[in-house]
């Protein structure tokens, strides 16, 4: 999985490309933790290139939501494919963090 990190408007976006599965979920967790440990409290995951998410990937999302739940913190996901959105919706995750159509729309609200 490719992870590209960019920062603008006091938020960091991690643009992901590929599958989030047993093999790649730890890599994603590490990348997110690095951003949070660096002091960033506004994290957006751009899922435009994500084709699949496993339960391991869901766990990483939940762990991130737990870390970013203080007042002023922001955590969201944007540009989900219908297949990945279906998994997040049916698992109940869409009530934990915000889902945005695009990076622009997410950052505009932050």
């Amino acid at each position: 999985m490719e992870i590209k990190t960019t920062s603008k408007d006091n938020a960091t976006t991690l643009s992901l490309n590929g599958r989030i599965d047993t093999a790649t979920a730890p890599e994603l967790e590490q990348a997110i933790n690095k951003v949070i440990d660096g002091g960033q409290r506004k994290v957006l995951l751009d899922f435009a290139g994500v084709t699949y998410i496993s339960s391991g990937g869901l766990r990483v999302l939940l762990a991130t939501a737990k870390k970013l739940k203080n007042p002023g913190d922001k955590f969201g996901i944007c540009a989900l494919s219908p297949e990945v959105l279906k998994i997040l919706k049916l698992a109940g995750f869409t009530s934990i963090f915000s889902i945005y159509p695009s990076e622009g729309e997410a950052l505009a609200g932050w």
Binding site: D21, T51, P82, L85, K86, I87, L90, A91, G92
Partner: protein, 582 residues
């Protein structure tokens, strides 16, 4: 040297138990469909190879051992097949050193010999594994009907390579043994070798005994899914053969069984396994033949259901994580930790990933369907064993749990050669749809139920978990039902039909359709249900194709037919037609 408990060791020469003067060199492989175990026996008079296997590398390894034996003392070389399936013998065809002519005498039960001589791709399973087979002439036919006409009379044999042997037939019934048997003696210093005809797995299957060892080929696997029903398989013969071998083991002269695949079996274990194999075999009346066409159908079905299984397990694991998250928020982390034992997400991810990788390689390398069907069977079996359905159904939507359970069970049923149960009844279509949609809209746990359980700590925890874990699919969803003006009765399988509608609704809701319209109407002898919604366009063409194929199959099993249309305007329409009872 033999290991503790007299277990034979692979790839070492060791005394053959109970057969003075004979030694054995087993080659034990991990179980697969490519090649069998092989066993080399040497006596002062002969070298005997049982099942050369299916791999050229294995054959070369065996030939090196045989060549060393012959260099030590030149003796006639015999190759015996427990049955003529390619994984037990194709190495003969592909390894010049094992070429039968001249060097070795190939001994096969007479029906197997006939298959080899005509190059029968179906009976040898060459067709199933897409392997080319050329006709092979056997040097000697074992357990023949001709010799049974002269029971107990030794027949002297002289082969073209100079080998000598004596064979005596003992037909079933002539002795207390219920199996046809022949005893072969390769020379004055050699222990006798008994051959028992044990059809069932194949028509030509035999078990071979020397001393305390019984070589059983694939007898103990014959009732397994993906093996039962192979061309030449017979339930009746298999049960008779198992009974015969059971009686032989009861005599107490056998210490170990040498199977065609996997580790050796101590006789005590075999005596426990045998009734279980027989019990499985007894359930297999009227199973469909497992031929290449059926293997291809099952492989396609396997890929389609695995797509759904993957989604369902990910959703269930995700739902448990979600409950844990909410419980943590409520400072109930103790209860949250207990949930982790219900589904091991990592193990399940690994299993599903292993199937995906296998499936991708299968398509890239144009693999044979039977391997994919078997791999799916293996994965589904493991998922079934780790899936704690009853406990989960109390915490998350029981509908998801039960659908997953049925999906796994249906695959195993189809894989075993049966048709999943279907109960077609007359159903009021509009009422069924209204009840389903209502059930998917109202939370199953009411606020009253939560409040009334507060006095009992355990009951409260259970209700709390369920109220977090069960989320009505159609909550906050705009669903419009256009019902037919009159009552419409249709003949369908209610369970499969309900599952079908749920999968469709779930797909539309999950993929973000803002509204769903369900139209029910009747015309002549048919009733039509149309479900439509608008979802963003998807790039996952292959997955979507598998889902549509899965839904079409499910609809057929429900006793109806389905047409799916994904319009360019992102509108998805599912049209189901069922037979109307007028």
């Amino acid at each position: 040297m033999p290991a503790g408990n007299d277990q034979l060791v692979s790839l070492e020469w060791q005394p053959l138990p109970g057969a003075g003067g004979a030694t054995i060199f087993p080659l034990i492989r991990k179980i697969d469909t490519v090649s069998s175990n092989s066993y080399i026996i040497q006596t002062p008079d002969a070298i005997i190879l049982i099942d050369p296997g299916g791999l050229a590398t294995q054959a070369e390894q065996l030939m090196q051992v045989v060549t060393e034996c012959r260099a030590e003392k030149e003796r006639p070389f015999f190759i015996l097949l427990t049955h003529a399936h390619i994984d037990h013998f194709i190495a003969i065809q592909n390894t010049p050193a094992l070429a039968v002519a001249g060097a070795a005498v190939l001994m096969v039960q007479e029906e197997g010999a006939a298959c080899l001589e005509r190059g029968d791709a179906a009976m040898t399973q060459a067709a199933m594994f897409n392997t080319t087979i050329v006709p092979i002439k056997a040097g000697f036919h074992l357990v023949t009907s001709d010799r049974r006409e002269h029971p107990g009379e030794p027949v002297e044999l002289c082969f073209s390579n100079g080998a000598l042997a004596t064979v005596t037939a003992f037909p079933a019934g002539a002795t207390p043994m219920s199996l046809n048997r022949e005893t072969i003696v390769f020379g004055p210093a050699s222990p006798p070798l008994d051959v028992f005809h044990t059809p069932g797995h194949s028509r030509d299957s035999i078990c071979i005994r020397m001393g305390g060892l019984l070589f059983i080929g694939d007898l103990f696997f014959a009732a397994n899914p993906g093996i039962a029903g192979l061309v030449g398989w017979s339930q009746e013969d298999l049960i008779r053969s198992l009974d015969g071998i059971g009686a032989l083991l009861d005599k107490g002269e056998i210490s170990q069984l040498c199977p065609g695949h996997g580790r050796l079996i101590p006789v005590a274990d075999a005596q426990k396994m045998l009734p279980l194999v027989k019990r499985d075999a007894a359930t297999l009346a009227d199973i469909a033949e497992f031929n290449p066409d059926r293997a291809a159908e099952i492989a396609t079905y396997a890929e389609d259901i695995m797509e759904q299984v993957n989604q369902l397990f990910t959703v269930m694991a995700g739902r448990l994580y979600y409950i844990s998250y909410v419980l943590d928020e409520l400072e109930e982390s103790g209860t949250a930790a207990e949930l982790g034992t219900l589904i091991n997400g990592d193990d399940i991810d690994e299993l599903l990933d292993a199937f995906r990788i296998f499936s991708e390689e299968h398509h890239t390398k144009k693999g044979v369907s039977v391997h994919l069907a078997l791999k799916a069977g293996q994965v589904v079996g493991k998922l079934q064993r780790t899936f704690k359905t009853d406990e989960l159904a109390h915490i998350i939507d029981p509908g998801i749990v039960r659908r997953t359970e049925r999906l796994l069970a249906d695959y195993i049923t189809i894989f075993r050669g049966f048709t999943p149960p279907r109960e077609v009844t007359v159903v009021d279509l509009s009422s069924l749809i209204e009840a389903l949609i209502e059930g998917l809209t109202i939370p199953p746990i009411s606020c009253d139920a939560v409040f009334s359980s507060t006095d009992d700590e355990k009951a409260f925890a259970r209700v709390l978990l369920a109220s977090i874990g069960t989320r009505p699919l159609l909550e906050d969803m705009d669903v419009v039902i256009d019902n037919a003006p009159d009552v419409l009765f249709v003949t369908i399988d209610r369970e499969n039909f309900t599952d079908l509608l749920t999968y469709i609704l779930e797909d539309l809701v999950g993929k973000g359709s803002p509204a769903i319209r369900v139209t029910v109407c009747g015309s002549g002898s048919s009733a039509t249900v149309t479900i439509s919604g608008t979802t963003p366009s998807s790039s996952a063409g292959c997955e979507s194709q598998k889902t549509d194929r899965f839904l079409t199959g499910l609809c057929e099993r429900a006793g109806a037919s389905l047409a799916v249309s994904h319009g360019e305007d992102t509108r998805n329409t599912y049209t189901i037609q069922a037979n109307r009872v007028v």
